[in-house]
Symmetry: C2
Subunit: 228 residues, 2 copies
């Protein structure tokens, strides 16, 4: 009786151990956070199909590009810029964007498309760069996207985006045509929580700090005659 | 007899499974690559002690700061800049630096100290920025550090460093005093191989591409009367 129980216990323990090992191996291999690095300048290629792909398919490298566009650019070619745009267009709930210079019309169109799909877009940009000719910040504001800028005289020099609170896109690349097509630049893309979390926290801090209501408060206090 | 063998086999298999589970758990937890994010502007603090710490101790957060410096800056305070410098000074064999603007004298001193310790330093910088007043590139060149710049008219806009071929420091921060003390900037630090490897490869590509010998080759060919 006891030997039967012993063998049974051994078999159960062995099976459980195998299950646990399988789970741990899956975590070690298959479920590693996505990491990718893109370098620029990017080759030119048609990205028209990326604006119409559903969010769930946009980030998948295997998503077949559409060849229906009749523009003169190469079709069906994956470039650094198309990879970047693909990750951006994968947003399904939120896009937090913190970028010094934003004049690239392809990227502006991407943000507008996401906004029209109901994605919550928040944009933080440099207060000096916002006023420069070619800046797309005014276009985003006119479309109803919430834009804030730094209050102080220093440069808001970040160039990062957080997609759906899980995917970080950051690097040296400003969101300009020159940066994408001419400069030597990099964008690092990661889902690694240790790297994504600090950027989410910093975006929240800067967003609160650049709240126009907060900006007006000191003036209101003076008007009311308070000194604190 | 068979039941004893069965129980014995079960016990051995269970013990081995436990060992394997322990090893997998250790890989999942303890051996995760180092990840860190720093935000700027950095507070001011004395970093004098970081230039004299041995390479093996420099990156350890627990390395106690020396308070022997008599400067007026706060001592014993860890800041974004001191963390950045600590990682940089941890180089023991090589430092590959690819940076658009380099005028920060504290960082220049760090690179010079590493060079004097025998660390192989390679610096890639933007050809237009090198000539600007305050650039530290000339100082590095005079000390015998190998510096190259891009051959073409576009901007080399990267801001990354690879320490000992294992640790990547990259972000929006140019190596200037303004970036460190005034701007809103970020530096992402990682040992994640999927992220470090592409930067090592790209540095190698850019380094080869900016080789002055390669630059002179077309002229030499013409002098020699060859057309290939």
């Amino acid at each position: 009786m006891w030997t039967v129980k012993g063998v049974g216990l051994g078999v159960v323990a062995f099976s459980l151990s195998l299950e646990l090992i399988g789970w741990l191996l899956r975590r070690l291999r298959a479920e590693r956070p996505r990491n990718e690095v893109l370098f620029f300048p990017s080759e030119l290629a048609c990205v028209e199909h990326l604006y119409t792909l559903p969010a769930s398919a946009s980030a998948a490298p295997s998503a077949a590009p559409s060849h229906s566009c009749l523009c003169s650019l190469p079709h069906g070619v994956e470039t650094s810029f198309s990879r970047f745009l693909r990750h951006l267009m994968s947003a399904s709930s939120s896009l937090d964007l913190c970028v010094f210079a934003f004049s690239n019309m392809d990227l502006s169109r991407a943000v507008l498309v996401l906004h029209s799909r109901g994605v919550t877009v928040r944009v933080l940009s440099d207060k000096d760069y916002i006023a420069i000719t070619g800046s797309q910040i005014g276009v985003l504001r006119k479309a109803g996207i919430c834009v804030r800028s730094n209050r102080n005289s220093v440069h808001m020099h970040h160039k990062f985006a957080v997609v759906d609170g899980r995917l970080l896109l950051t690097g040296s690349l400003n969101w300009t045509l020159n940066a994408v097509q001419n400069n030597m630049e990099n964008i690092l893309i990661t889902e690694e929580p240790d790297l994504v979390r600090p950027f989410i926290k910093e975006f929240g801090r800067l967003w609160e700090h650049s709240d126009p209501v907060r900006r007006q408060k000191p003036a209101a206090r003076v008007d009311a005659g308070t000194q604190d």
